[in-house]
Symmetry: C2
Subunit: 286 residues, 2 copies
């Protein structure tokens, strides 16, 4: 078994490696392993792995689906929604100016939230928001149904979901179809003064279009956990923008305690000839 | 009926007033109303009303118990707990320094929370935290039981609850018994690095002791919605303290839509000779 993070040129015989457990390894790390039978990602998103042209095309690739990671994502999304709904980002700015300024208070049922992407994480987020009283609409590429959530799919569904929400939470996988999805034309579909919470991938958002939408008042605020370049460079305009909350890609970290069980289950399944869980469909990209 | 906020010297005949609907009116506002039969507060806490020596002693006084206000309080407490649990206040500081610095991630079940005060609001807060996966202990002056919450009472119970929590949320009424409850000796009972969320009254906290506990590392952070003097004066040290989050007394505002029904119900009850709801026990102070 190979942990690509610690691979060195002469530390092992490539022919002995049958399982590679990886967390966004450098390009080329998985080439030249003739007996590789499984690539197990420690990350939920496999867009960077799939972008590596040396990734063996015929070896099964499994994503991380860690219940604790889903839970962490639901917490982060709920925190962002509560912060936007109850003006807590605004109060933080007021505090810096020693300014006592209450804002009007809305009920949760007056703040419609859209969740884009209804995979494991999007589902966990949508359910958590419903439990906490928010009206939730969901969008996914293929039709899905989810109790308590108004689900939509397709291009027309996306326009409808974006137009109906005060807060849009993005949890889509990054694929050629979703690259740059948040751009001037999608921002124009959103309600004036709506907010964006991007917990998926930096490549989903056209950064210059986001800055323009915030500047014009089209969007009110963005909570961003992911960026086109990570770590976000120190001179990037997002850091000091009063309408942007920057998180250092921490919305949901893999929890080693629960993730180890997920990995062990797949390794055992491989050894025993049983089906591998959470296999990636490479044509779909997730 | 009298709305004390708009009372002027000659606008009405005092003898015609039977119900006073008040929101922290100036001292003396309720004196000289010979036929007053009910004082209905629009606020949940009546400590300032009770401190007015001219408040008629023989007129029933009702507190505001507004389900929407309870819900708002639960949202604020949950937001504060999520922010502390997931290091979101730390990330906000890092953002100001353009610093990309992930912190370790804990599960909700690793973050014990104590809720002090199990009245309408404390109960709503405790239940909301349980639903979101936190282990919750509750404390109240008199013994109470609450599903899913480990409840305690009395002095010994208080010490135990404080010692067991990573985050302490205060929702006690302000009475002579709870004035200054958070002082050097209670802070010394708390875990090193624990945090305080005060959503009740400023008088519960000895401000100089809080600053000392934060400075020594005894406490990690305080989220404060209430202060000894409100609005918090512009030169107060809390505003610029990196370990203090200041909110301008907005944790839970009375929602006029739902509160109006509560008031109307009590006025109708008075007219019809039925029991008034949410009467204050003046000896207890809430």
């Amino acid at each position: 078994m190979l942990d690509a993070r610690t691979r060195t040129a002469d530390a092992f015989d490539p022919a002995t490696v049958d399982v590679a457990i990886v967390a966004n390894p450098p390009g080329g790390s998985l080439a030249g392993l003739p007996n590789l039978k499984l690539v197990q990602s420690l990350w939920a998103g496999v867009d960077r792995l799939l972008a590596d042209p040396t990734l063996p095309g015929d070896v099964p690739l499994a994503r991380m689906v860690d219940p604790m990671m889903n839970d962490a994502m639901a917490q982060t999304a709920l925190w962002a929604v509560l912060s936007l709904h109850r003006a807590f980002f605004a109060y933080a700015l007021h505090q810096r100016e020693h300014q006592w300024q209450p804002h009007a208070q809305r009920r949760a049922d007056e703040v419609p939230v859209a969740v884009l992407g209804l995979g494991q994480m999007g589902t966990a987020v949508a359910q958590r928001l419903v439990v906490n009283g928010y009206p939730v609409a969901g969008w996914s590429a293929r039709p899905r149904s989810l109790p308590g959530v108004a689900t939509h799919s397709g291009d027309e569904g996306l326009t409808r979901v974006l137009a109906g929400a005060q807060i849009v939470v993005n949890l889509l996988p990054l694929t050629p179809a979703t690259q740059g999805l948040f751009n001037a034309s999608t921002f124009a579909c959103m309600r004036r003064g709506a907010s964006l919470v991007n917990l998926a991938r930096g490549g989903h958002v056209v950064e210059s279009d986001l800055l323009a939408a915030l500047g014009s008042g089209g969007l009110q605020h963005a909570v961003l956990d992911v960026f086109c370049v990570e770590p976000l460079p120190p001179d990037h305009p997002f850091w000091s923008h009063p309408q942007i909350t920057v998180l250092p890609h921490v919305a949901a970290l893999t929890d080693p305690r629960s993730a180890a069980e997920v990995v062990a289950r797949n390794v055992r399944a491989l050894r025993d000839g049983r089906p591998i869980e959470h296999l990636v469909d490479r044509a779909r990209g997730y």
